[in-house]
């Protein structure tokens, strides 16, 4: 009620007041700041030169052949990446189908239901944090040993998308949890105090408010899956497949794998081809990231 405390108490400079003139920033301070700044600059310069290098290398091959033609290891001028692009789209679509519902449901459980004092919830928690940092090639081993050979899914789109969905599941869970946690507790309390059940509160208040954040996090997670090559190497993705997938049972190849295959060829034409495929891959990633950032800015809410 009282505004007295808020009154501006700044005192104007009076003539004759002692001047607190500094001696200038010491050299050591400047050097420190410069080296911090350099740390960031290295990353920026690296990123810029990588992008420039790739585009320059790709330039001669950056034409429609890259998406109209199929991979070819005999004649690089005739080669394209259509089956790899289609393979990537198939795989990522099914990865999304498998991991997004699972990840979001798990996130809801951990944020809204799980009592962190229970040992099994703590186990789930630590397990997810560890899985987020397990090397992707180990997921490839899981895919190879269990999904592809153990369960007999073979070297198919199905195996690839199941493997990648397990790979990005922790990322989806962590991002969704953050989005759920960002919904203020007061909204939950208001809903519960009106006699809503816990699920009504989650379904009608928490989730609608968390959807933009979950969508952003999910897109970023999926874009990680798109660029992932290592696990797919173990699932037989490195074959020069000259047809598009027609279903989850189809054999597959994918863009990052095809890029890897072309890099391994020593002829210079293949370097250009690999660069062109990298440009395509980066454009897809850029598009997904832009959507994610747009979502974040469009719907970000200050509570």
């Amino acid at each position: 009620m009282s505004n007295v405390m808020d009154r501006d108490v700044s005192v104007a400079d009076e003539p004759g007041a002692p001047r607190l003139k500094g001696k200038g920033t010491p050299l050591r301070e400047r050097f420190f700041q410069l080296s911090l700044w350099t740390s960031l600059a290295v990353g920026v310069v690296f990123l810029a030169s990588l992008l420039v290098y790739v585009v320059v290398e790709a330039w001669p091959r950056l034409d429609s052949r890259i998406w109209t033609n199929f991979p070819d290891i005999i004649d690089p001028s005739n080669a394209g990446a259509q089956s790899a692009i289609m393979g990537t789209l198939w795989i990522i679509a099914f990865t999304a189908v498998y991991c997004l519902p699972t990840g979001i449901l798990a996130a809801i459980y951990l944020e809204e239901y799980a009592d962190p004092n229970r040992w099994w919830n703590r186990v789930i928690e630590i397990n997810i944090q560890n899985l987020a940092a397990v090397p992707s090639i180990v997921y490839g081993i899981l895919g190879l040993g269990i999904i592809s050979r153990g369960l007999g899914f073979g070297q198919t789109v199905m195996s690839a998308s199941l493997t990648l969905s397990l790979l990005v599941l922790p990322t989806v869970i962590i991002a969704s949890r953050e989005a759920i946690r960002a919904v203020p507790q007061s909204i939950r309390q208001a809903s519960l105090a009106l006699g809503a059940t816990q699920w009504q509160t989650i379904w009608r208040q928490v989730l609608p408010a968390a959807v933009p954040g979950m969508a952003t996090g999910s897109i970023l997670a999926l874009s990680r899956a798109i660029g992932e090559a290592a696990p797919l190497l173990l699932l037989g993705g490195l074959t020069f497949i000259t047809f598009n997938p027609t279903g989850v049972e189809s054999p597959f190849t994918a863009l990052p794998i095809q890029i890897f295959g072309w890099i391994s060829q020593s002829r210079a034409e293949f370097t250009a081809l690999a660069s062109a495929a990298i440009v395509v891959l980066l454009v897809i990633l850029l598009a997904m990231n832009s959507v994610a950032i747009w979502l974040r800015n469009r719907y970000s809410r200050k509570w």
Binding site: M5, S186, Q189, S191, L194, G195, R204
Partner: protein, 305 residues
């Protein structure tokens, strides 16, 4: 402050009161004048058929006994104020009445809380049923990030309301004296309203469920004096139909609106742990004019707290 006190029985010039209040900035506002019995206190109705009976109530957070041995009865269709210094457990006690304490995993309640003779913490009792009868308004206005209409309609919807929602929304908003202000923008976001309007919307949202009791946890502490006066007006008006329990830091508010007042304080035991306690519970007039406990007297005269 004293001059600004308007008899509670005559609230027609409420805005004048608020303007004066708003223009006053003396920090002594919050404690000044309470002893001067110029307020026409509201006569308290009887406690013969209490809505709530509380006996030997203790609330624990983990091992810490936050509130110890509270006994009081809450009367029907009257306003009960709970006052006291910060950390005295009054909000904790309030949250026992609709089992909001259930949401704190470590909280535990011991003792008797009966609602119309039914043990509120009985094994068969469903907290959701409880909360449909005992609504709550929070300290900070917390409208849902939805339209005004959806805010009002939310409670009835989740409760399985089958009638005409449009009518219910209009009736509720009228009831809460908010209809004229918002009737042209029912579909706009509730977050666009002013703080005071948001809080009245939260009250309206609560009565849309048609509860019997409304709990208010410092409903005006985030609001300016004008908005506060409007809420107090609304509370008086709602008390004709609802039982209201209000926690407040503002002693004038307790004096102005309530029929009965419970004064809480915190004891510090020999281990230095604070326990909230009910010191005195009586008709508001008595608490403010002739309290029987020295601690109450100290608090309301501003010597403590």
């Amino acid at each position: 402050m004293v001059t600004a006190m308007t008899p509670a029985s005559d609230r027609t010039d409420i805005t004048v009161l608020s303007d004066q209040e708003a223009s006053m900035t003396s920090p002594s506002d919050s404690v000044g004048g309470t002893r001067t019995p110029r307020v026409a206190y509201r006569t308290a109705p009887s406690l013969d058929s209490p809505v709530f009976e509380v006996g030997s109530l203790s609330v624990f957070y983990g091992d810490h006994e936050a509130v110890r041995d509270v006994n009081l009865n809450i009367g029907e269709r009257q306003i009960t104020a709970m006052i006291g210094p910060s950390g005295c457990g009054k909000s904790t006690v309030l949250r026992c009445f609709n089992r909001m304490n259930d949401l704190v995993p470590t909280a535990r309640v011991a003792g008797k809380v009966r609602y119309h003779n039914e043990d509120l913490y009985g094994r068969e009792v469903d907290p959701i049923e409880v909360r449909r009868r005992v609504g709550m308004v929070f300290q900070k206005p917390n409208p849902f990030p939805k339209s005004i209409y959806d805010n009002i309609a939310y409670g009835p919807r989740v409760g399985g309301f089958k009638g005409n929602l449009d009518d219910l929304v209009e009736e509720t908003l009228t009831h809460a004296a908010l209809w004229d202000e918002v009737k042209d923008k029912l579909k706009t976001s509730a977050l666009a309203l002013s703080g005071g309007q948001q809080q009245r919307l939260c009250i309206a949202r609560t009565i849309a469920v048609k509860p019997e009791v409304i709990l208010m946890d410092e409903p005006c502490s985030a609001l300016d004096p004008i908005a506060t006066a409007k809420i107090e007006d609304l509370m008086e008006h709602l008390a004709e139909e609802f039982t209201i329990i209000v926690v407040t830091h503002n002693m004038q508010q307790a004096a102005r609106v309530s029929h009965r007042t419970a004064f809480f304080t915190a004891d510090v035991d020999d281990k230095g742990v604070r326990h909230g306690r009910l010191v005195e519970y009586d008709e508001t007039e008595r608490i403010f004019s002739n309290p029987s406990d020295q601690r109450t007297e100290d608090y309301i005269s501003g010597r403590f707290g």
